[in-house]
């Protein structure tokens, strides 16, 4: 398959992830959607890596994976902390800060 196809898939996943961030209210799912976006980037990186025949893209993808893991960890930690504080696990209810 042409590299372009992979890229189209990656673009679609990226967009779906973005849409997910917009429509979902649970921070947990939003984190999942962020994973989607990062994965889309990974797919693009790997596809480009294949295209150019160099492994830089793959290395980049691995690093992105690490970062995704870190973000998830911190994000989940936050959610747990919020749950501890008996705060609603719903981004629409987090409106103390506004204006």
């Amino acid at each position: 398959m042409a590299i372009g196809w992979y890229l189209v898939v990656s673009a679609l996943i990226f967009s779906i992830g973005a849409a997910g961030v917009l429509v979902r209210r649970s921070p947990l799912v939003i984190l999942l959607c962020l994973e989607l976006m990062l994965n889309a980037a990974n797919l693009a990186l790997v596809a480009f890596s294949r295209m150019w025949g160099g492994e830089d893209g793959q290395v980049f993808a691995l690093i992105v994976m690490v970062i995704a893991a870190c973000e998830v960890t911190v994000g989940l930690g936050l959610i747990v902390a919020m749950h501890r504080r008996q705060l609603p696990i719903d981004v629409d209810d987090l409106r103390e800060l506004q204006g």
Binding site: V21, P27, L31, V74, L78, R84, R85, L97
Partner: protein, 535 residues
């Protein structure tokens, strides 16, 4: 990381040459952060509450020392992952100084105790490390990991005052929006990699300018340009450029104030620094395309930031919006894409640092004094001029400097920016800056007016405050302070001495460099020189 090196040798892979001298700031920072983390685990409260800040302070001081010692030694280290040049070093100084201020301001910060002093300070140091990586980065991977190492500790630090819901809320907001930004950035970087086939800035630059296979074809390639577009968004988010700024006020307000101070100065500097690196090195070839967009973004940012600050009542929000506006000014310096533009931007960052720190220090002081809350409210500043001039003066200087009044360093910063803009044929952007400054007077002067020209509201009725006090609030000096309308009893004033010292020192720097700017100017003049290939 040194432990890994023998392993590499064992596998007969020749590791890259490492210039330890140039790497020293990084080593010091990382080592210091780890040490602080470990010391923080000790049982003794003295170790945690006294030694940890002291160690952090020492680490930062050592970093500053290393930075200074590396001036004029340009080096590209670790297989071209980092470039230690004057631009990077000056920005490193900014980060370190900002972090020093944050460490001092955190001395009695409840968030630090809550998160654990060791964790809190090591996160701060890791963030500084990330910033240093970011502005030195010479390839996309380093850049991305730098930006993440900068951000993730900050997400945590924002949420570290977990007692307050607002702190958690700000942490989550920052995290989500930051991650969207990161994802966008990394997608953009992927596209740039796809278009150029390389992750190195220099290779990217030469691919764009056509020294490579695709001679001349890349300049208007949609793939590359979209990559640049997405990266712009990623950076813009970090620098709080409108319309990617919306997290800023909320996060600044929710985060512990010392962290806000750090974010407001260091993060912004780092983001603008990476703008300089990325746009003036890697993709300088497409300047014709991105410059107008950045100019437009700068315009929007200046307007939105300054206008947004007008009706606010929380000082932290005012400074957040003001920071948005100031980011617009700095971005204007990036747009020019000349050596002068870089100098001006770096200088502006350097001028922005002391006064902003001074302002935040005053807010911290007021928050401490008003234990009952509302210390960050603008009304908490009422009457400060007559009650605590040593706090009122730094705040006044900060506001005037941010507004660009002569005699302060902000004025010289504006001068430099406008000079660069006019010289770079962007006079209209200079006019936009000026219009933004005019709008900004509306709130900067309001703050000053509150301090010097109004009487605190609770002034005549201390009895009412006492009656409203909940029964459990007795017995602590804070509560007593709250009784007297938040004005300090003598010992409270002394307790805030270190904050006042920070405020006064940074405020004084704001005036000193406003009157004698030449040393600072000479310093930043090296920044532009370190980026070759532009004029």
């Amino acid at each position: 990381m040194t432990a890994l090196l023998p392993l590499a040798a064992a596998a007969h892979i020749k590791g890259p040459h490492i210039d330890w001298a140039s790497l020293s700031p990084f080593v010091v920072l990382a080592g210091g952060a780890l040490l602080v983390l470990l010391v923080g685990l000790l049982g003794s409260s003295i170790a945690r509450e006294r030694v940890v800040p002291a160690l952090s302070f020492l680490t930062l001081a050592a970093t500053i020392g290393c930075d200074i010692s590396r001036f004029h030694h340009q080096a590209s280290i670790i297989s071209g992952a980092l470039r230690i040049d004057d631009l990077a070093l000056i920005l490193d100084l900014v980060f370190a100084i900002s972090a020093v201020a944050a460490v001092i301001l955190s001395a009695r910060e409840p968030a630090a105790a809550r998160a654990g002093h060791g964790e809190y300070h090591s996160l701060l140091l890791f963030s500084v490390f990330g910033m240093a990586v970011l502005v030195s980065a010479q390839n996309l991977v380093t850049l991305f990991i730098g930006i993440e190492l900068l951000s993730i500790p900050l997400y945590i630090l924002c949420a570290s005052d977990s007692r307050r819901a607002a702190s958690l809320e700000s942490g989550l907001k920052y995290l989500v929006i930051g991650s969207v930004g990161s994802a966008t950035l990394v997608y953009g970087l992927a596209l740039i990699y796809g278009a150029t086939g390389s992750t190195d800035f220099s290779a990217i630059a030469s691919a764009i300018t056509g020294n490579s296979v695709q001679a001349g074809g890349l300049l208007s390639d949609p793939l590359l340009l979209t990559g640049i577009a997405l990266s712009i968004v990623g950076f813009a988010f970090k620098a709080s450029i409108a319309p990617f700024h919306q997290w800023t006020p909320d996060v600044y307000e929710g985060a512990p104030t010392p962290i806000t101070a750090f974010m407001a100065t260091a993060t912004k500097a780092a983001a603008i620094g990476v703008f300089l690196r990325f746009f003036d090195v890697a993709v300088i070839g497409t300047q014709e395309t991105w410059a107008p967009l950045l100019a437009a973004l700068a315009t929007i940012t200046i307007i939105v930031g300054n206008v947004g600050a007008l009706g606010q009542s929380s000082m932290k929000r005012i400074l957040a919006y003001s920071g948005v506006g100031q980011a617009g000014y700095m971005l204007a310096g990036v747009v020019i894409g000349t050596k002068l533009g870089i100098d001006a931007t770096v200088f502006y960052i350097a001028t922005y640092l002391p006064v902003n720190i001074a302002a935040f220090a005053v807010i911290v002081a007021r928050q401490r004094q008003r234990a009952g809350g509302g210390g960050e409210d603008i009304s908490a500043l009422a009457g400060l001029g007559s009650r605590q001039p040593w706090l009122a003066w730094p705040m006044t200087i900060a506001m005037l400097s941010l507004a660009g009044i002569p005699g302060t360093v902000g004025f010289i910063g504006k001068l430099y920016l406008i000079r660069a803009l006019v010289g770079g044929d962007y006079t209209w952007l200079a006019v936009v800056i000026v219009i933004g400054s005019m709008i900004s007077l509306g709130y900067y002067l309001r703050v000053v007016a509150t301090m010097w020209m109004s009487v605190p509201e609770g002034e005549p009725a201390p009895a009412r405050a006492a009656a409203a006090r909940p029964a459990i609030a007795g017995g602590s000096p804070e509560a007593d302070a709250a009784d007297t309308g938040g004005w300090p009893t003598p010992d409270r004033a002394v307790a805030n001495a270190e904050i006042a010292v920070v405020a006064v020192l940074f405020g004084a720097a704001g005036v000193l460099f406003g009157i004698i700017p030449s040393p600072l100017l000479r310093l930043v003049a090296h920044a532009g020189r370190s980026i070759t290939g532009i004029f």
